[in-house]
Assembly symmetry: C2
Homo-oligomer: 597 residues x 2
Amino acid sequence: MPTYRAPIDDYRFLLTEVFDTAKLATYPGYEEVTPDLLASVVEEAGKLCETLLFPLNMSGDAEGCTWENGVVRAPKGFKEAFKQYADAGWIGLACDPAFGGQGLPIVMRYVVDEMVCAANLSLAMYPGLTQGAFETIHVHATADLKAKYLPRMATGEWTATMCLTEAHAGTDLGMIRTRAEPLDDGSASISGTKIFITAGEHDLAGNIIHLVLAKLPDAPAGSRGISMFLVPKFLDNPDGSLGAPNGVSCGSIEHKMGIKGSATCVINFDNAKGWLVGERHKGLKAMFTMMNGARLGVGIQGLGLADASYHSAVAYARERLQGRSLSGVKNPEGPADPIIEHADIRRGLLFMRAFVEGARALTVFCAMHLDDEFRSPDADARAHAADLVALLTPVIKAFFTDFGFECTNIGLQTLGGHGYIREYGMEQYVRDARIGRIYAGTNRVQALDLVGRKLPEGGGRLLTRYARLVAEEVAASRAIPELVAHADVLAAAAKQLQEVTMTLGMRAMKNGDEAGAGASEYLRFLGFVAIGHMWLKACRTAVERKAAGGTFDAAWYDTKLATARFYFTRMMPQCAALAAAVQAGAAPIIDFPKDRF
Amino acid sequence: MPTYRAPIDDYRFLLTEVFDTAKLATYPGYEEVTPDLLASVVEEAGKLCETLLFPLNMSGDAEGCTWENGVVRAPKGFKEAFKQYADAGWIGLACDPAFGGQGLPIVMRYVVDEMVCAANLSLAMYPGLTQGAFETIHVHATADLKAKYLPRMATGEWTATMCLTEAHAGTDLGMIRTRAEPLDDGSASISGTKIFITAGEHDLAGNIIHLVLAKLPDAPAGSRGISMFLVPKFLDNPDGSLGAPNGVSCGSIEHKMGIKGSATCVINFDNAKGWLVGERHKGLKAMFTMMNGARLGVGIQGLGLADASYHSAVAYARERLQGRSLSGVKNPEGPADPIIEHADIRRGLLFMRAFVEGARALTVFCAMHLDDEFRSPDADARAHAADLVALLTPVIKAFFTDFGFECTNIGLQTLGGHGYIREYGMEQYVRDARIGRIYAGTNRVQALDLVGRKLPEGGGRLLTRYARLVAEEVAASRAIPELVAHADVLAAAAKQLQEVTMTLGMRAMKNGDEAGAGASEYLRFLGFVAIGHMWLKACRTAVERKAAGGTFDAAWYDTKLATARFYFTRMMPQCAALAAAVQAGAAPIIDFPKDRF
């Protein structure tokens, strides 16, 4: 049976030692925030994840959701656990207190997300989009809509969805056919069918608030003619109580590879009443408030599942006796050595660990920049942070889900044949992790977003800003003798990244396919550099705290350094291969005769 | 819905143009064999796979196997399809005609295997181990046992298993507890419980012949005290008809991630009657006759599933309209371009194709050396071939299943969200492919076999012999101007492989963990070289045949060259990263404090 242990210590390290969370108290609304407060929130959330959500993870997978005549039921126990989770205020954790939220920094939303997704991804999907919908409505909707919907979303009394995809239009939303006919009362009548709607229908909450992309009659063609509407499952009575059902129904749920406890719905809108959110024809822009958060959130799912798989793999590797270590017997009293004594098993565990801890640091780094972007009193800092978030969002989404999937596979592999058996729980992590590479924009779309939008922006401003931070970290770390070698590795990779960026940019100007052909490998390269950046920063903190005294004992900091060593020596070499692949250019791909595939 | 198209053309290319199959006619027993005969056998088998086995693939997954009071039922249609397949003689294809086989070259067993596994892996598992058991009994058993069991195995009237694993002993077979008590009549009484027994119990055949590893009372401890026994499900009457049930029962079947149509059984032996196969206490050696074939077969499963996934991914990519090509509109009449126009989609398809065709060539190359090893009249050729097979078997098993899994994931990803939905069939390929990295010895075990046994053998004789073949191919290809660049890439990789081999060998002499820490990446490196070797050879054939005239048109040969170009420019760069990881050595792994994981 798998185990889950929330990463309390690692988050305490990140939130109280590595990153300057004390500065958050200078932001309006965060006056009460202290590093210790944040660490104790993690502890509370971690407990809930371990004891409330995790125990329902395997049973939820085995049972799945049911659909009957339009009614969807989540697996046993989900409704009660969701209520307990919502009642404790976790859904509105980082939401505006003016609308019922807890008003904690944005970074905490993502920190808690990691643990919730690790403990029970399917269950996490029900409240998962509600925070993003809250933000979207908060930023783009009228005061009326905000007052009516936000407070009950912050408490989890109601949940929310994002309705984008149609059967013929996934990546290419310009082709959607859902129509919005304006009505005299200022609302609109929405008709169309959306697919792949996460938590589109379920029995956990009293109402479901759909944010729906649709086209008004006078819409320009393509993606510039899309508007966003708020479409509730139930309309409301004048007194605020739930009113008549709206024209929204669930046509079916999907049979999926994983996240079986999460209802993925076909949602039919038949003259459903909806209200415009944001400007007419500018719904895609409004939706990106939600989408960017969703992309970070999906990346973090990869991180969480990797961590969950890691703990179970370690526990198995300590207990399973098989063979003798190649460097001599380690367990002479037993019939064989625990497999954790085998170098290749340890290699797998270290790969998982080095990814997880590095990715976790990058999560905090990026999410703290969200707080800077939205709450810093300093306009320059806001602009700077917005750039970093824009650059890193596709990287986190794609790199974390690719490597999260890889890590869950290493976890499965650690158990040998038992990893393939359902009762051990490791194959569920693999199946659940697989969706992250697809939804909220496939990883290919993330790569194109990075290379086609984020890199060219402002003449390369985003990467230039980011590269400066990396260079600063390299310089600071070079002052510490035991970090020089790591700093050199990162510096070399960062330099090569600049060269590859230049080459890619020059070529893409001549032929757009050059960008497409190199995008995925380029994103991965940047991901390695970004996690390397975090590892260097974490190492510097570890060395300093070990010397000066910190929350943990010396051995704890040494473990950080040992994990970093694996990352820099055994994982970073990938960068050279990725650079070479990008440098090979598009010709070997686009010259292939397409009718011969 | 997925599609499957048997790779008839590619096999015709390999069997009649790339490899010298004409020489097989000079081997005793193969006098009638011609290249065209082999190609037409592929065509026949391909048809059967497309029309008989493939249509049951998805239904078999959805239904799975059932176990009730010891009785196991395969999914609907399996029994009838198996019978038709067996009746047509396919199970005994490469078996000795003296015992009911068809007597075709060994290479054909693996060629047909690829297509059978691609079409329906679960169904393929029922006859899958019977050929290997046939060989094992053929080589190691008494004339009596051979006469009694082989003819009915060759026809598929009876199937066979290999019973190795016990709950506490998988990789480490020295710890097995199954006991064999000698009986006065020369047989033995077998008692113990085996797990993970593929096709251990089912309703497709009249009898099941288990090859069981057990320990005799006077057995030395560990793996040198293991004997192999033939234990039938039903004993036989003096007249050859089926007699009383033996003490063999199926305790349960596993709930697995994939290959759900294949029954994976717990098999209990309670004083079951068995007969020694091979020498007392030397059962592991005898079992390796079977295991080596099984390892090649499992590798080929990875190849087959990659190919199956490829065809469905291509079909979807041609039809699915989404977005516009970055190099300009390609489908102006339609609302969007087919996604095959997007460079990154093509990159994925080419990755699959380059792996599949390269791996297929390596399959034929290796399997033809099996014919050399067992049928060549020339003793030197036999010894040489045995070395190559020994070296390449772990590479094919591990590399093909790792990359097969990766390819099925690329196939799934090509379909975006639809790839995650069961009805599209792509996620089944991923789940089915996942087991290949585990069974018949995990890929980690393959890497240790390569580095710990195959490399040191005879002072590096195996790799030296193999490297000579690679060098010869490089030299021959350098004479063809358009292949010089590819030949240079392969030559550089082969040179670096030698250096890495040297370093690894020197270090491993001092500390066995060095071998373990670098083994998996080393194996992958060798895999890239081996497939590169095949690509170069295929290119040379393509250039020559294009000029001189061959079975195919010029465009067909050009497609080969275009696929090879992708392999050499976009995939081979991986080698540098793998070399660097191996060179980093074991210290970053074994210095990590193990109680801190």
